[in-house]
């Protein structure tokens, strides 16, 4: 059984002054158990709306959202104890301490205080646990929210922009935490607009644009996005290098200040050998790695061209 299953999700917001906004438009999504699933897209692409529908906080206009096989709007209560989540900005009672905020949540399931201590320890807030939540920085509030999500010891974690407001060290900690949680066998569904950031710890991703999924699958597959493996070559005499490589059966084209050589990085030695045989020596030779941001830009440009 899939952990998350979204079928034909459409969410339309009616405006008071007439008209409507389509936040999500026919989204299909399946997340299998285990690992980290990145739910990516720029601001306003429909990530949070999808998460709100998944958590039963908003009602889909069309389509269904299921978690552990249960419909999110009608029967989420059967599985909600297995789901930890953060939705949008972190929430807390500002005049209660961080610990009291967590204790109130823990009380809903009758969890012991030791679980609260453990969650505070995990997110590095133990020393500030007695301070009022309103004195916390945005990053600390975010950690508190993560602690709240972890408190249930959930099988599925749904984290909406968990790195928001965190400093670089905090981002790294969250990244490591998510990686660890995924490695423990939990399913972590993490949304972010920082595509390159998320790329570092996700096993699978779905990329959203204007409420639609433009790419989904294992990170490597999405990154390759129909292109073959390639290397980037910097060399003094580009024209001669192209001629020599083409003669050797290796396709090469100009690409910014590099030559893009259509060959797998594992065969990089063949490029060096061929060029050296002709008395040409590479200044730089590296794998042509694309990041999700580049893929996203390419995909959305393609979509825009198609629609125009």
């Amino acid at each position: 059984m899939s952990v998350i299953e979204v079928r034909g999700l459409k969410k339309v917001y009616r405006r008071l002054r007439g008209g409507s906004t389509v936040a999500v438009d026919g989204l299909d999504l399946v997340v299998e158990p285990g690992g980290v699933y990145g739910f990516l897209g720029p601001n306003g692409s429909g990530k949070t709306t999808t998460i709100r529908c998944l958590l039963g906080l908003a009602r889909p206009t069309e389509g269904t959202c299921k978690i552990f096989g249960e419909d999110s709007w009608t029967s989420l209560h059967r599985v909600i104890s297995k789901v930890g989540s953060i939705v949008e900005a972190p929430t807390a009672f500002p005049n209660f301490s961080g610990r009291r905020n967590l204790e109130l949540l823990a009380g809903i399931y009758g969890l012991p205080r030791t679980d609260v201590d453990k969650a505070l320890e995990t997110v590095g807030l133990r020393d500030r646990a007695k301070d009022l939540a309103k004195t916390y920085s945005l990053g600390m509030k975010q950690r508190l929210a993560i602690a709240g999500a972890l408190l249930k010891d959930p099988e599925l974690l749904i984290l909406d922009e968990p790195a928001n407001g965190l400093d670089p060290a905090g981002i790294r900690e969250v990244r490591d935490l998510i990686r660890r949680l995924g490695a423990e066998g939990r399913t972590v569904f993490v949304s972010s607009h920082l595509l390159s950031e998320v790329q570092q710890f996700c096993d699978e991703v779905a990329i959203l644009s204007r409420g639609r999924s433009v790419a989904a699958g294992p990170v490597k597959e999405v990154l390759s996005h129909g292109r073959g493996a390639a290397m980037l070559l910097r060399i003094a005499d580009e024209d001669q290098a192209i001629a020599i490589l083409t003669a050797a059966g290796i396709a090469a084209v100009r690409h910014d200040s590099y030559l893009r050589v259509e060959i797998a990085p594992t065969e990089g030695a063949r490029v060096s050998e061929t060029l050296a045989g002709a008395g040409l020596y590479p200044i730089e030779l590296k794998a042509d790695e694309v990041d999700l941001e580049t893929v996203f830009m390419e995909l959305t440009e393609t979509l825009q061209e198609a629609s125009s």
Binding site: R52, L57, V83, A92, P94, N95, G107, I108, Y109
Partner: protein, 294 residues
Amino acid sequence: MSRLFRVELRRLLARRLLRFTTLVVVALLTIAGAIVFFTSDMTPAEVERVQNERLQSCVESQGFGNAPPGTTDFEAFCREDLGSEIDPRLDYVEVADAVTELGFPFMMLGWILGASSIGAEWNNRTLTTTLTWESRRVRVLVAKMLALVLVVAVWILLLLVFYALAMYPAAAAHGITSTVDSTVLGDMFESMLRVDALAVVFALLGFALATMGRNTAAALGVGFAYLAVVETIIRGFKPEWSDWLLGDNISLFLFGVGESPLTHGQTTAAVILVAYIGALLLAATALFRRREMA
């Protein structure tokens, strides 16, 4: 559900508003008790002087117009008519009678606490977090209502008891307590329960309005506008509708039939109030059940 209820109880009891308001009210009642204590100390000569003044005033006005036709001995009439009112010393029975006068401020306390208990949750978006722990919305809301009812009922009752205790030293030291018997105490406790019930009703009113308006200020503003403006206009243009107005039924429930122009009794007033609040709570629950959570 019981866990949700306990959590909400803990949250309400930990709220600064409740603690701060309790401190302020206790301080005010203590100050009031102290003022009454220090200003009620009268010498026997002063007591006699005031008694004579009151008697004289009554006699000169021929029994304040209350004397039956043909009365000639107005002094005797006034002595009987004034009764214990002729004595200027603090009679604890007056303290008991004044409990109903505290109805309005204590209703306001209930209203504010009720509205802010859920208004703060909307403001801080903590309801969203709660719903990611217990997604059955009706349960969440009912647990919050029940906790609010319990907290407000106990809180207001304790404050009223504190009021009665704060006034007692003045009556015991400088006034009259001999008139206090089980009937007076019973009546006082009944008045306290009426004030308490109204405070709970107003807490639920504030809660329902804040649930619908997603805001404490909106709940207080709408409630105030309705009671102070809408009902005043209705009372002016359609006095025959007074039987169904919230404000008039509150007055009737609090002060009794004697001072009310309404055509029904206290029990009917209570039923009308409960019906109004019940309808509002049902509407709030129905709305909350379907509402999109930010």
